[in-house]
Symmetry: C3
Subunit: 468 residues, 3 copies
Amino acid sequence: MPLRTDRYFSPDPAQKSLALALYTGIAPLPLICPHGHIDPRLFSDPDYRFGSPTNLLITPDHYILRMLYAVGVPLEQLGIPSADGTPIEGDPRAIWQCFADHWHCFRGTPTALWLRYALEDVFGISDTLTPANAASVHDQISARLSDPAFSPRQLYEQFAIEVLCTTDAATDTLADHDRIRASGWLGRILPTFRPDALLNLESAGWREEVDRLSALSGITIHTYDAFHRALAERRAFFKERGATATDHGATTPYTERLSKAQAEAIFERALRGEAGAEDAARFTGHMLIEMAGMSREDGLVMQLHVGVHRNHNAEVFRRFGRDRGADIPLAAEFTRNLKPLLDYVGNDRHLTLILFTLDEATYSRELAPLAGHYPALRLGPPWWFHDSWNGMQRYFAQVIETAGLPNTTGFNDDTRAFLSIPARHDLWRRAVCEWLSGLLVRGMIDEDEAQSMAYACAYGLAKDAYRL
Amino acid sequence: MPLRTDRYFSPDPAQKSLALALYTGIAPLPLICPHGHIDPRLFSDPDYRFGSPTNLLITPDHYILRMLYAVGVPLEQLGIPSADGTPIEGDPRAIWQCFADHWHCFRGTPTALWLRYALEDVFGISDTLTPANAASVHDQISARLSDPAFSPRQLYEQFAIEVLCTTDAATDTLADHDRIRASGWLGRILPTFRPDALLNLESAGWREEVDRLSALSGITIHTYDAFHRALAERRAFFKERGATATDHGATTPYTERLSKAQAEAIFERALRGEAGAEDAARFTGHMLIEMAGMSREDGLVMQLHVGVHRNHNAEVFRRFGRDRGADIPLAAEFTRNLKPLLDYVGNDRHLTLILFTLDEATYSRELAPLAGHYPALRLGPPWWFHDSWNGMQRYFAQVIETAGLPNTTGFNDDTRAFLSIPARHDLWRRAVCEWLSGLLVRGMIDEDEAQSMAYACAYGLAKDAYRL
Amino acid sequence: MPLRTDRYFSPDPAQKSLALALYTGIAPLPLICPHGHIDPRLFSDPDYRFGSPTNLLITPDHYILRMLYAVGVPLEQLGIPSADGTPIEGDPRAIWQCFADHWHCFRGTPTALWLRYALEDVFGISDTLTPANAASVHDQISARLSDPAFSPRQLYEQFAIEVLCTTDAATDTLADHDRIRASGWLGRILPTFRPDALLNLESAGWREEVDRLSALSGITIHTYDAFHRALAERRAFFKERGATATDHGATTPYTERLSKAQAEAIFERALRGEAGAEDAARFTGHMLIEMAGMSREDGLVMQLHVGVHRNHNAEVFRRFGRDRGADIPLAAEFTRNLKPLLDYVGNDRHLTLILFTLDEATYSRELAPLAGHYPALRLGPPWWFHDSWNGMQRYFAQVIETAGLPNTTGFNDDTRAFLSIPARHDLWRRAVCEWLSGLLVRGMIDEDEAQSMAYACAYGLAKDAYRL
């Protein structure tokens, strides 16, 4: 059954027709993708191929891996290589069949909506995936993938992407970005500066990362001062290559303004391999403030993603490494934790600091009041687990009344799965129209207000917030 | 476009007609305003005038100030005087224009609904405010303000207010209230006893406040005992002048029953200027229990508003003082924190202790179960940031199934903005009818039950809970 | 007015007809009752009688007791015996009248929906209870109760219960369960192993409970090792008698893997009466892991109910004992607290550990992500205060998008009130159909998917998760 054009909208005829009218107005807008994890190699290599349907749609999607793992499918059976060399499934068709056999597990999840949209929109397949049609669906996708016209660059244009930002380590050379620009292709792929591996003294390989920073910046890093200068240098490097934003991940939103002597002492302990957990937490909290200060200077928009216990599953991490679906959110506290940072830069209306949370209890309690007061703050869209129909409706219902729409930033797809991008934006845009049609049909806003808010959510806010 | 009579209600025709019928039944009921921050001078001076539209509608409204500040408007540009003497905008028309220029920021917020209602209901202006019509709207309001009949007393009657309680420092002389009663005007303006500045040892000017208490009560306060007696004396003074309630604010709901010796020791340290943060927290926690004990004696209803980090923005506080929109909620914990108080007075069904929260996660988790068990407890309406359409719907959905409606207290507008009172009650009453029509159309309650619940929410519960 | 066949469903005609169609498909399915607190004596004694309407419907229902107490009715007036010998109401008709006089307090609560269903379904009474008809309703119920055919066994069949699990102390002899099996009656009443009183070193009478364990298992318990073996022996005893699950209650989800020496030392301190609060917390945290390990061996499904401050009201507890409605939820943290347990057994797909929470903020933040990743974990249905229409809708909206339906466990009624069982399952099944019809009418799932999900929620998931 093909996707309904009025899908996801309220069944009430009056509201549905308002939602459809709003959606029709914004559906043709190009996609702004200001934050995500698409590999720039997709675009730097003009002959890039996606491989098998399994390589394209299953292996890189941690939403799928974690669900199959949760219902009892070993990761080996999904072809994920393990550190201990357990034999793994090597036949992509068998993995695809296993996925189809468990398709029912995804009912009612965003994964099902995204995949169904991608199958129909990109591959022209309208049937629901079943164990019985798995092989035939696999072959239809395969056939399309073998078409030379099916390349990331071609899809970028087909998807009507206007700009797509990647996320790159502070020590990335950005060679792929250089290649993209040198190729003469007109797609706009911009890097984002992400220095987590340098700012978190406890991250694996921190010392080597500092050495890479040293080598790339040409600044020998024996002191906090040199470290600070090298970071500034890399920010400038990213900015020259088109970056408009930085991105920061931390376990908590803790910030603390260290004295220079304190920062130096901790940094030197870290160089000697003697920094402990408390050192690391304080140093991250201090460096977040420093990064905000640098953003005030260089104009790079600062993103802060906090509140997740990475690699929660010790065994899965040991055997299969990072990003295998074992990241679990934590309760977060922003009001007290962010105060030192906000005391320093919160009143600067030329700075943009975008906050993301995985603790929805903080939407109405802390984040909307903070974003609705501090000139420097904006609240990012529902993130990760909450990038879903219900997650979006909760976001609108809990955030906008207090924060106001202009203190938010529209949508970002935050995905590693290139083919899911149009599906994710479509879900967001429909969620926006559902929300606004609800306000409209209840007489809470006017029609021209609804249209203007829909445009902002679909396009304007992201472009403006990220200075694109 | 004039306000729709069916505004805010569900678009479903069956539910909407039930909602309208319920609303029609309660719309004519007078307004009970048991808690708020209206200045009694509005009523003590028969010739009180509101000043310009800006003075009336913008400057005193911290919801508006914080939103404009958040999107980059300096407070100076809104005419807010700063401590450092920065020049400020002095032309109320320019401030009004600036407000109109940013009107779109309020789309989807309660401020927009309140202002639109006030413009139409009080000033007969049905147009949506725009940058283009700002001057004309300003002049229409101005013209009405210059009408000698446009006075607070006249509006009190026009708004059909039955009783309005102010919030007054424990050391207020209540001279305005005396003047109101002496004037022969029949409006019912009652004081509320708020001793925060005395109970919080860390509040600025605590020592001077104790001296004022000493002077007013005629009790020299060199000991905790004298302090205690003086407080009791002031409570009696307020009660004689018509107060039926006290109000208490604290950062957290922490309570602790100190021994008399401990309380004395802390109080004496405070008199010597030697009390620390822990002393202050424990003393507040102890005095909340003492206040509950006094309420049990004198029958004053006790209100407890907790969970906000006051003056969060250090720079705004330093330059512009309190109540400029820089108060940010905190996570709250009631189950353990309130236990000492509840062990002392929770089973007394002659006491009424009304709890307010800014942490909606506590509605279903702690507050509804507490209010649904302890005879002394009731849960107040959605407060501050949550005094909004969605905030109210979440309140009904999360509270009533467990607490039961009789353990709640109806509505209070809690406003500094006199003109927003009818708009706020209208929003609440419509939210009530939306909620009840949902139960009714689903067959969860009967029609007479819905009518009785609507009456309780609109009028009966507040009158009963506050003993008005 | 008789109950509407379309009760509780959305008023939208399109959605309602889908909901009704789904409901019609699952309404005839038998009831799976995998967790609850029905006394097995109801079934072991073929001549068991329920007593008066008050004894049947009011006295054992702590939802009712707490609400009446909260609005000012002393427990004595409800016939609850007090430890201090205060005279109590002895006339069940007077208690019933008092209940009817306060019936309005239950409007909008699940208690009202359950009771109304039971009155109509079991007693054929369609009138809403009022103070005026209280006596007549009482007499109609009484007449039915005096019918010899009105027995628990007969109702078990009338309710179409397929299996009902009780909850039994680890030291219960299960004599009632033996009697049921010996009687030849075909009802399936299974025990559940609940060792809380042994695992919580601070529970009243812990030492006596250990002695009982010693006596029953025939193992003299002077050491941790013997304690461990005796527990294993009791698990085997329960399993032989048909138990498929264990149940564990703890104040928090804290887990910690103690070394054997640490566990021994704490246990020996406990035997000497010297264990403190920290000892108790650590020992419980350790034993939860041990129980999970034993479940991995013996295949008993493990249930974990955490996050409630038992006997919060000191005076009510002292005077009236446990289970009088004075249990208040606490904020819970699972991500960090459960990690030691999950490190030990979380990846075992042959273990089933079912989590329950009273802190709804943890649904989307922690529990859905955990259940959507760990093979051993499933999330139980909305518990206790949240076993309600809105509680269920929040559960579906916040859990399924991330956890996936197969990582949940359907419904359990968790009740002490036998007559409320069909009403509770009916509410759940209708809530399921409301949720699924919403997905269906919005085109998020197909019709056959909706039917299969409805079946799973109503029947399949509980049967599968509890290995029944």
